[in-house]
Amino acid sequence: MKFFRSVTEVFGYSPFKPLVQHAILCGRALGLLQKQFEAYRRCDFSSVERLRDEIDELESEADNIKEEIRMKLSRSLILPVDRHDLLEFLKVQDEIINNCEHVGHMLTFRKMKIKDKIMFEFDVLLAKIMECINEYEEMIAHFSSLLESSFDKKEIERAMEHVKTIEKIEHECDEIQIGLHTILFNSEDLHPLDVHLMEEWVVHLGYIANSAARAADRFRIMILGR
């Protein structure tokens, strides 16, 4: 259709749906990472590699969304939140999926037979991180009601409750990590390279929960700092 005049351009690019989409990709990547650990436990290393590639794909999809938001978020837009805060928030949220990707890569570095006791601890840690990311996704889902209510006080309070929960879960992740480190560094029977690699896994898994907590904090700064 060619023959028309319109002023729809006044409605600018809205970054909020893509932001939610980006957070959903983070959650999906973590789900794949859990599956990858499961495959590792079964010593199904071809699946481990396949899952690494799948996580890579999600990560590059998330990168595209990030780039799109950065490109289209021009200074001529009036947004209900500070543009700079929003970009900073996006940057930290992107680290969630980046860290998932790192761990996914590290699972393919070395083929090991991991003892059930240690693997169980990894499962506990992964489940806790999943809990953290699920909570994170719930927080992000509040964008729509926040926008619809024009950042009504009650809606803000509801969203902020998630931030506290995320921070609490992140702390619990830290404690599980301490337990895992202690086990790993006291496994004299293990090959030092095994210990070293698993210790890297623990650290980077911690980064996932850590990024989620930091992104939640940026979310809070962005919403409360309007």
């Binding site: 023959f3 351009e9 006044v10 837009l77 024009s150």
Partner: protein, 337 residues
Amino acid sequence: MDPTIIFALIVSFYVAWNIGANDAANSIATSYGSRALTLRQLVILCAILEFLGASLFGKNVVKTIAKGIVPIEILEPHLVVYGMIAALLSAGVWITIATYMHLPISTTHSIVGAVLGFGIAAASQGHLKVEMIKWSEIFGIMLSWIISPIVGAILAFSVFLLIRYILFSKFGSKKVEGVFRYLQVFTACYVAFAHGSNDVANAVAPLAPIFGYSAAGYYEIPREILIFGGIGIAVGVATWGYRVIKMVGERITELTYTRGFSAEFATATTVLSASALGLPISTTHTLVGSVIGVGLAGGLASINLRVVYKIILSWFLTLPVAMFLSIGLYSIMVVFL
């Protein structure tokens, strides 16, 4: 009937059609964007209320454009007829080009520029003194072009802020939106009526002198031309405007009932006040102002201010283009007819 008059009628009807197809459609599309009404309901409602606004309330603005810019009563009647046909044709040509190029121009600015062009041409040919052109009125009109989007913005800002801080915080946004869904039917009617009352003049004001207005002993605007323009706009809405409503409405789904209400209410109030004062203003530009007002009140996810530069650019483009086209056409007609 004189063939020049038939020609004038055709051009006028076309301009009215274009106004209905684009501007009427744009101003009502917010109601479709929020799905308060179906497309069919909206088109019927819009066509009827545009017609009513035009035929019942369009007189004052017609008066301003017909004789508030150029003192037609002191010119020879045949020159006035040429001048008005030249103005109408110039506005029609420019509006057509702008529509193809998707420029957010105003039909109001086009016709005002074109009529002014005729006045300047008449003055340059010695039929009129330059100072006889009603400059103070023209500056008043131009001032109203700057003020009207600002008034729309302030009104919309206030209305939405009231909704937000009184209704949202008391009843919750979901409940309030539900009620405003029905209020949007009212604002859709309101904005269509207001638009008809102001913009019909852009198409039919030049017909008024052609049909004897302001000639000796004929000082009333002939009602027939308002009805004629109203029909043109209604036909524009019904034959092409529905596509524009659909397209625009689909792009602005984020405009919820309360936001749509605020923007339309502010626009309609501003435009109808201007009609009462006889000021020809741009409904579309007022609507843009109102939407920005809602955005500034924290009602929208994203507002693109670049459109403001585009609109300002279109002001600077429309006036001279319409004016020079009109000067050229009028001169040709005076020389050859």
